[in-house]
Amino acid sequence: MTPRGGTSTARTLTYLTLMAVAFFSALPLYYSVVVASRDNSALADVPPPLIPGGNLFANIARVFDTVPFALALLNSVLVSGAIAISVMFFSTLAGFAFAKLRFRGGKILLVVTVATMMVPTQLGIIPLYLLMVKLEWTGSLYALVVPALTNAFGVFFMTQYLSRALPTELLEAGRVDGCTTWGLFWHVVLPVARPAAAVLGMLTFMAAWNDYFWPLVVLTPENPTVQVALSTLAAGYVSDYALSLAGTALGTLPLVIVFALLGKQVIGGIMQGAVKG
């Protein structure tokens, strides 16, 4: 029985609505591939082209000729990978402490952690930039990686998961066997945490890959991330839509495809992290 006792017409309407929404969610991405695979003159046609053409690889080659895109891809992989691994590690560590270790002030610190998610840290970008100037990290990948090594969402996410999934008896057994706290983390917590940590890693990787403003501020066009390179492309070659959308497709679609394949787990992760938000 459906919770709302829908009639069959209501059900049909629901499906039609959801299909329409799904269509409009996917359409712009599809259309970006259409534009990326055409040459510019075809885009002036009325009606506009609706199916992909044969110029995708030629346009992608032009992307590599126009901006340092190979370097941008490498930088983005390094930055996003480093951030993802670090966030997985530190979040599991802190999540273990919050979920299973009793310590004075622990509950309050957890509340503070969640509250920090509401602090508009983007407003501190000027002193952050001054700090990077002092550290001589402007233009370097350190400026992207170091501030992002941990985040509140990850800590909260792993706390939620571990307080549900990690049996206290397992920890007690570890103690009896003479494990130190670190030993417990390494031998008991990490294996249990693996599935959730993988989802967190994926979410973090995507967020870092898509980050735009801070890399734009602190990096140079000569040593960009993918998003910075894309914006250079879009700004410098205004009327060359085929070029900028070929770059966009190249910088976006691999991630979108990986997401579509692992989508079920990632979505489960987002929704678990949300329940108590």
Binding site: A44, P147, A235
Partner: protein, 324 residues
């Protein structure tokens, strides 16, 4: 012996009179230190990094805002509230404030209503649940740069798909970028496209925690789906709604990449500043290296955010009376 909780001391000698050897004593001490200090050490990295790269810069902004501070000079003259006084009579600042609020309302209100409705539709046994959810989240996986590049093409005046579709209804081509209202709509559509599905999933997660019996009872009483949404679902997921409203408000107040890229890298938000948001206004003074003035704007924005998030919090909380 009583059972031990994991945080307790591991070894309690059964016969107190026997003096522990120095080695045992040291092991006990180390163990005690391990149990007491480890939790703090494990949560410390997050707090240290947040303080260094989140909280400290935010607070330091206040200090910078009281100075005539540019990157060009090492001397930063203290000017008190001069930056703020200048700001209050700066038309461009109020223009940016208006644009931010306008885009904020246009993008957030329809988005959240749509998200709740979508979550409501998804919160029932459906075929292809996963497929729908994954597709809904696709826009959120797309980077903001990609979103704006794609939509700038769709909103193009001459060859854009949206003007082409509008032409079926006899609408003559719109120069979306040129007008205040049209550019705000275009930017809001980009924001909505990227965030509606994500928020729908957050709402859906909350809805799934609502006890089924409530709906069953309501169905027996003959309440329609819409009535159930208004009378049961929305009151039950109110904490989540408040959370999403506040985070969306904070996000909307800081919109930057969409107008920047929609204007093809125009830090003034179009030739007439028709879509320069507050964040973009800050960025404009950042690129002019006038950090004192930019910091003053940041603090004004911080105050706006707190006030507006507070108002929204009260509104969302108060609407309870009208619903249940």
């Amino acid at each position: 012996m009583a059972t031990r909780a994991p945080g307790d001391l591991a070894v309690i000698p059964p016969h107190p009179p026997v003096r522990p050897s120095p080695g045992v004593h040291r092991r006990l001490l180390v163990h005690r230190l391990d149990v007491k200090a480890s939790p703090y050490a494990y949560v410390a990295p997050f707090f240290l990094l947040f303080c260094a790269f989140g909280l400290f810069p935010l607070a330091y902004t206040a200090w910078v805002s009281l100075h005539d501070w540019t990157l060009l000079s090492d001397v930063h003259k203290f000017v008190g509230l001069d930056n703020f006084v200048a700001l209050l009579s700066d038309d461009y600042f109020w223009n940016a404030t208006f644009n931010t609020l306008s885009i904020g309302v246009l993008s957030t209100v329809p988005q959240l209503l749509l998200a709740i409705w979508l979550a409501h539709l998804l919160n029932r046994p459906l075929k292809a649940q996963t497929l729908f959810r994954v597709t809904l989240l696709l826009p959120n996986v797309t980077s903001v740069v990609a979103v704006v590049v794609i939509f700038s093409q769709l909103f193009g005046r001459d060859y854009g798909m949206i003007n082409w579709m509008l032409s079926w209804f006899g609408v003559s081509p719109i120069d979306w970028n040129a007008g205040t209202a049209t550019s705000h709509i275009a930017i809001s559509v980009m924001i909505m496209w990227r965030w509606t599905g994500y928020n729908a999933l957050i709402f859906l997660a909350a809805m799934q925690a609502v006890p089924r019996e409530l709906y069953e009872a309501a169905t027996i009483d003959g309440a329609s789906g819409m009535t159930q949404l208004r009378k049961i679902t929305i009151p039950m997921i109110r904490p989540t709604i408040i959370f999403v409203v506040i985070t969306s408000t904070i996000g909307a107040m800081q919109v930057l990449a969409e107008p920047l890229l929609f204007g093809i890298y125009s830090i003034t938000g179009g030739p007439d500043r028709q879509y320069q948001t507050l964040s973009l206004f800050i960025y404009e003074y950042f690129t002019k290296l006038d950090f004192g003035y930019a910091s003053a704007v940041s603090w004004m924005m911080f105050i706006f955010i707190v006030v507006i998030a507070g108002i929204n919090y009260l509104l969302t909380r108060r609407s309870r009376g009208g619903l249940s």
